[in-house]
Assembly symmetry: C3
Homo-oligomer: 269 residues x 3
Amino acid sequence: MMKLITLLTDFGLQDGYPGIMKGVIWSIAPDVQIADLTHEIPPQDVLSGAQALGRAAPYFPAGTIHVGVVDPGVGTARRPIAARLGGSYFVGPDNGLFTMLANRTQAMGEQTVVVKLERSEYWLSEVSNTFQGRDIFAPVGAHLANGTALEALGPPVRDPVMLTLPKPGAIEGGWEGQVTHVDHFGNLATNLNLSYLDPLSVKEIRVGGKVINGLRNTFGEGQPGELLAFIDSSGSLSMGVVNGNAAQRLELGAGAPVVVLVSDRFVAG
Amino acid sequence: MMKLITLLTDFGLQDGYPGIMKGVIWSIAPDVQIADLTHEIPPQDVLSGAQALGRAAPYFPAGTIHVGVVDPGVGTARRPIAARLGGSYFVGPDNGLFTMLANRTQAMGEQTVVVKLERSEYWLSEVSNTFQGRDIFAPVGAHLANGTALEALGPPVRDPVMLTLPKPGAIEGGWEGQVTHVDHFGNLATNLNLSYLDPLSVKEIRVGGKVINGLRNTFGEGQPGELLAFIDSSGSLSMGVVNGNAAQRLELGAGAPVVVLVSDRFVAG
Amino acid sequence: MMKLITLLTDFGLQDGYPGIMKGVIWSIAPDVQIADLTHEIPPQDVLSGAQALGRAAPYFPAGTIHVGVVDPGVGTARRPIAARLGGSYFVGPDNGLFTMLANRTQAMGEQTVVVKLERSEYWLSEVSNTFQGRDIFAPVGAHLANGTALEALGPPVRDPVMLTLPKPGAIEGGWEGQVTHVDHFGNLATNLNLSYLDPLSVKEIRVGGKVINGLRNTFGEGQPGELLAFIDSSGSLSMGVVNGNAAQRLELGAGAPVVVLVSDRFVAG
């Protein structure tokens, strides 16, 4: 079976940087298959990158190596790391980019092992201060695909950087959460997921000065132009406009507060 | 020989949704090769998606599986389908997205067989109401690549949805057609193709208040900034500006009327 | 080992043109691996394309075939060419797009052999005047991947078109160069590379009315919002804003002048 490497960066597509990383990978591991997750993470937005990696990684087969580069600290003392998370791998900067992967691994009762990348024989021979995706992370990912043991790459890291994610808070009659992601369609995803909400209990959603009554199963149940709420494909409460763009309509983005009121028998506490 | 799957969606590239579909496909069919056709179909624009698929599919080898997801009806009663079109395959929503492929198959005297996707053992174990590209279409495409028979996926569909495409009409001295596609360069493609026009007969093109005299073979025959008409790489009458953008210059888009006057001996009727 | 083909164009991603080229390639050479370098070269900007190809190609393994299509002269008398540059290949229009590859090959003491594409049995059977990326360059790249000899494709070309690149000039106390590339992050790269500058010698950079004192190793050494200068991952003097966009801040683009003053003992002459 072919080995898989995924790439997630904030490099954009215009300059060819992701293509360069593929050249480096295929120079070391010629038979690996490479999937772009996205290269359009907003520049330096580590949290957005961590969320995108968290959405995508569970759908890749065991053994997949995820190379992630959203790296405001490139070239500074921040550590380059690699990690084995259950059956898959992460390679990138130690800035929390793999937080969702590590959380999910823990939730599944599997082990996360992190090492600091120190063994430069697994890197390109020259390492720049500004493009370690090319010089360190891509080659390390390729060597992992070739069978190099994680432990060979450098010493253990006991305290990898983890992002602190905003959590919903209980309020009278329900929950207050936040918008965590605006997607290409303008849908507003939140941190109010199925561990907080029973979909049948949701009475009312308040967001951006609007009130939405209950949940729909899907867009097709609403009228064109209607603002509605639903459980999205990641299991999170989301708001969207049928054939439209909720983020533009409500002029909201990540961080915006969202209040959900639920039926009495489901009230928090 | 490797099996090929293509992906065409309106998902954009920022959120990683196409990457997720690749993870699903490679989890089921590890050795398949995957090509992105485009993920920048305007949101919910089924006609644009059908045209893009119609432009691209003929250039792929026999046996290629085209997974197309432009799906305003996701999660509603609209049927998920798969089709064998001569030697290739389509998987996606039953909303007309495969219209050009079906028309072409018919024109070549080959058979189109359509089934409704009902056999959930070929899907992911959990199916969301909003991302069936991940949960149904990608896994079905992967199973087809693995050799699953089309007929095993569900019962026959006799009445798949087909788009009605605007056709040119004969007018005195020529034809009136429509702009059907504005490409990245701002070129305006029309539904006036070689079945309506003999290139040698074209005297005059009227579009957006401008008059163009005859056809050129290619851009390089004009002056920078000149508006000219030509037969494009799909065999359709198109208008473009040399080193410029005709759509911006003329402030026109899909649907705009285009009149072509032809030499006497070629007049319709 | 799999053969590699890279694609670099100004086609954008919306219309599916790069996907069509992949279909053509895989129809001829089913087992080749394909990497997109970029499809977002500004329309008809041959110099930008040549620079992007020059940045990326050195990181691909020997034998890689680079298909490049930025081609304002498509369909005119400009020649279609293929070239062997040391151990790798270029296929595209004869308009200078491979200038950086040819310069690098010469600098490494290796040979460049160029042929004019004339043998149409290696093309698609129908050739359009506007999409030779699909009809000529993609199929020729695929045939090279299948082992067809370069010399079989057509007669030698002794005078391929080469771009003349702006070079820095010596001034009193230093050098005056130009911005050559603005990347996705808004960083401004210049033609002042390590063959002109010893990083330790740089005293002052003047660009867009601003003065920058000396070089930093990387962004993390500056404060958020600070304009700084550094040697980028291609070995060129670049200016950037920490967590910001230097091109927007300075309202500068390619061609803008940049003056560097160096320590006495390094002054030119």
